[in-house]
């Protein structure tokens, strides 16, 4: 990467199709723009997201990972979101020990009607990742 290139963060988002994915769609319907750095992958529940998916994403060049699901207590599969959240909690400890900034993983709980909140979350996260700089894991892989 030459000094002339501006760092454009690459962000992978795992979004629960019932909530945050729907909020992203609402953003679209309402024509509320957000940075294009984010690529969205739909999951049935954030409880479906594994440590492997997160670590793999980092190894394949993701600078940030956004996990969007239901707020606590609202998961339609009882507590899938909670289990996913627990995994991220432990994984962040692993990331820290390996020197990776754990804030590169962000969890959000956004309801399907909250298009504006989604837009704001993506804007903020993209700005934060831009400030962190490129994630060094890929060059390690």
């Amino acid at each position: 990467m030459s000094d002339n290139t501006v760092f454009e963060p690459k962000i992978i988002a795992f979004l629960c199709k019932w909530t945050t994915y729907a909020a992203a769609d609402l953003c679209g319907v309402s024509r509320m723009p957000y940075p294009s750095n984010i690529s969205i992958i739909s999951v049935n529940c954030t409880g479906e997201v594994t440590a492997d998916m997160i670590l793999s994403s980092l190894a394949k060049g993701a600078d940030g990972i956004l996990i969007g699901g239901c707020r606590p207590g609202h998961c339609r599969y009882e507590d899938g979101n909670l289990k996913g959240s627990n995994r991220v909690y432990l994984l962040k400890r692993v990331l820290k020990e390996f020197g990776v900034n754990p804030d590169r993983i962000r969890e959000v709980g956004i309801a399907g009607a909250q298009g504006l909140i989604f837009q704001q979350a993506v804007e903020k996260f993209t700005a934060d990742i831009r400030a962190f700089g490129p994630c060094p894991v890929m060059s390690n892989a």
């Binding site: 294009s36 690529s39 409880g47 994403s57 060049g61 993701a62 899938g80 996913g84 399907g112």
Partner: protein, 651 residues
């Protein structure tokens, strides 16, 4: 080797405006496994669908990707087309390049690159898809209706008339809802009780309807066609079959509390009849108001009851019922007037809400139809009606329009003039929105009739001067400020979802919108469905509306429910968990984490999935340390490839 076809939709200009769809198709044509790629105007049209069918046959495709709008819109449409051409419907994936690309990004180059990546990711997903067959499931044939207002009653009757049994749950001691409180309804000026009570009686007597009043839904488990609902029946302490409405108990009761039916304008006793036409037709003991039931602190009501209807030993009863569909019609409440501090709402006794006014003009209401000031009982000779109290105010209160207030305020003004012919009625309005059938004619008759003064301007403040109220407003048409003295102010309060709606939505796993109303699956085309299959919504719980719209939605929801209840068998998605027996070591972690008990470790030492109970949430797949259980067509290998492609790490 895969044989995948890719179709990139322009969606008119919706996608084409920002994404170079031709380039997306051309780039995908070169992608490994893609044997055909094209772009077209409207893939969802008949021509578009025919293209899919034709190409599947011509090129012997084993997978299709449609890059278009969000899957929620047309995935089923496209999958139907694929199935008709002989391709298994689960081998078609949609790449979202409209809601999540063309509509949110503006740079054409960036958007096109992203669309290419998303389309490739969908190709990777479809590459790993297997043939799947939907699973046929038996189901319950009863329906649960939550809420016994006009909407719930209508829905219950419609479902019951189709031959299916209904359980109608209402949290108040009587069905009827707010409509029972109204005096007359616009535009016909029908007496509200006269048109409502026959429905109430029909619901209570219908052989297919089981009425559970003073009851609440506390838990819902299961899925469309097979819901298990837990209901708590709260004790009324009165045997409804024995009660003969003699009123002796109420007479001797020492406790007085505000009467809900009269919106606090009168008092009732702790043991009371909700209202004259209450169904069930029985007195009810409000244990929160009562001095004490367990242990008995008073006991006077039981002493005087000649028929032994009062039973202090009643206890809450918790029951579980199995139903196939659920209709939620939990109605509205009025926005708390105490939020409108500048109007003295909730503070000045002579500043009342629209529902309170209904009770005041009602001939059987607390004032027997004689309009009197609540503070000092003097006759009301002048009144100010305030439109949009709490509505259309995104800065401080509710952003939406409550829809019915313009028409009912015109009605209120008319009723006032009928009751007080020489009285002065002032209506402060912003707009006149009388859009229902007959409403414009009805309201114009009142507005232009010159008996009522219509002033275009918001009310800034109401001041209580003791023996009268002063209303500070403005007449924007003449440009003059106004200060009017009146005896009574009536606020057309905003409608809000009824208390407990948010908790109930959570219990039912349905969403609420940004204003707390129950959220429909699609605002335009699916107004009575939710994103939870088998749960439908109707009436003001979904948003402010009048009685005709509430009744229409109730019947619509009933029709949707009947479709489920009368189906021969229901179809269960085959996108469920599957175990790789070569990798499963029987550690049992999947069984521990499954919220539905859908997977268990058998004696063979291998986990086995009960497909009917599985909803494909993926928690087991994510918890299995060996990767031995995965969701069909959403396997880790597929997601792994999608990640790589989405990141553009494979150019």
């Amino acid at each position: 080797m895969s044989r995948i076809g890719v179709f990139v939709c322009h969606c008119g200009m919706n996608i084409e405006e920002t994404v170079d769809t031709r380039r997306v198709a051309d780039t995908l044509k070169l992608y490994p496994g893609v044997v055909h790629a094209e772009d077209y105007d409207y893939m969802c049209s008949e021509i578009g669908q025919q293209k899919i069918r034709d190409v599947i046959v011509e090129h012997n495709l084993d997978g299709v990707v449609v890059a278009s709008c969000t899957p929620a819109m047309h995935q089923e449409t496209f999958r139907n087309a694929a199935e008709e051409a002989g391709l298994n419907r689960y081998r078609l994936e949609v790449a979202n390049i409209r809601e999540q690309v063309s509509w949110v990004h503006s740079d054409r180059e960036v958007a096109t690159q992203k669309a290419i990546r998303m389309a490739r990711a969908a190709v990777e997903k479809v590459r790993g898809d297997d043939d799947l067959e939907a699973i046929a499931v038996d189901h319950e044939t009863r329906c649960l209706v939550v809420g016994g207002g006009i909407s719930g009653i209508q829905a219950a009757i419609d479902v019951a008339n189709s031959g299916h049994k209904v359980i109608l749950v209402e949290k108040d001691p009587s069905i009827g809802g707010h409509m029972a409180q109204l005096s007359v309804t616009f535009p016909t000026l029908d007496c509200a009780q006269c048109i409502l009570t026959p429905r109430m009686v029909e619901a209570s007597r219908h052989p297919n309807i089981e009425l559970l009043t003073y009851s609440e839904v506390v838990k819902v488990a299961g899925f469309m066609g097979n819901y298990e609902v837990t209901i708590r029946k709260n004790p009324t302490y009165v045997d409804a079959d024995k009660c003969n409405l003699c009123d002796k108990c109420s007479e001797v009761c020492p406790v007085g509390v505000k009467e809900e039916f009269n919106e606090g304008l009168s008092e009732r006793k702790a043991i009371y009849l909700p209202f004259e036409q209450a169904i069930p037709s029985s007195y009810v003991l409000d244990e929160n108001a009562c001095l004490g039931v367990k242990p008995i602190r008073c006991g006077l009501c039981q002493d005087v009851c000649d028929v032994g209807a009062i039973d202090y030993d009643m206890a809450p009863e918790v029951i579980t019922e199995k139903v196939g569909a659920i209709i939620v019609a939990t109605g509205y409440d009025l926005y708390d007037p105490s939020h409108l501090t500048e109007y003295g709402g909730g503070k000045y006794p002579d500043v009342v809400t629209s529902l309170q006014f209904e009770r005041m003009v009602h001939p059987s209401g607390p004032m027997k139809g004689q309009l009197r000031r609540p503070s000092d009982g003097r006759s009301v000779k002048s009144v100010a009606f305030v439109h949009c109290a709490g509505s259309r105010d995104p800065g401080r209160h509710k952003p939406y329009c409550s829809r019915i207030c313009c028409t009912y305020t015109a009605k209120h003004a008319l009723l006032f003039k009928k009751g007080v012919p020489d009285g002065v009625a002032n209506v402060f309005y912003i707009d006149i929105r009388t859009d229902g059938k007959g409403y414009e004619e009805f309201a114009q008759g009142i507005i232009s009739g010159k008996r009522v003064r219509y002033i275009r301007g918001k009310v800034a403040k109401v001041v209580d001067e003791g023996d009268h109220l002063t209303v500070w407003g403005a007449d924007t048409l003449s440009g003059k400020r106004m200060e009017i003295d009146v005896d009574l102010v009536v606020l057309a309060m905003a409608m809000v979802p009824s208390e407990g709606t948010a908790e109930l939505a959570k219990t039912l796993h349905i969403n609420v919108d940004e204003n707390g109303f129950l959220k429909e699956a699609h605002l335009k085309l699916r107004p009575v469905e939710t994103t939870t299959a088998g749960v439908f919504i109707a009436g003001t719980a979904q948003g402010p509306k009048d009685i005709p719209d509430s009744v229409a939605q109730a019947s619509a929801a009933a029709a949707k429910a009947i479709a489920i209840l009368s189906a021969d068998k229901l179809s269960h998605s085959p996108e469920v968990a599957a175990v790789d027996e070569q990798l499963c070591s029987g550690c049992g972690i999947c069984a521990s984490v499954c919220p539905y008990d859908a997977v268990k470790v058998e004696r063979s030492g291998i986990a086995v999935v009960n497909e009917i109970l599985c909803f494909g949430c993926g928690v087991c797949a994510a918890s299995c340390p060996a990767g031995a259980i995965e969701i069909k067509n959403e396997r880790h290998a597929q997601i792994e490839e999608m990640i790589g492609v989405a990141l553009g790490s494979e150019k």
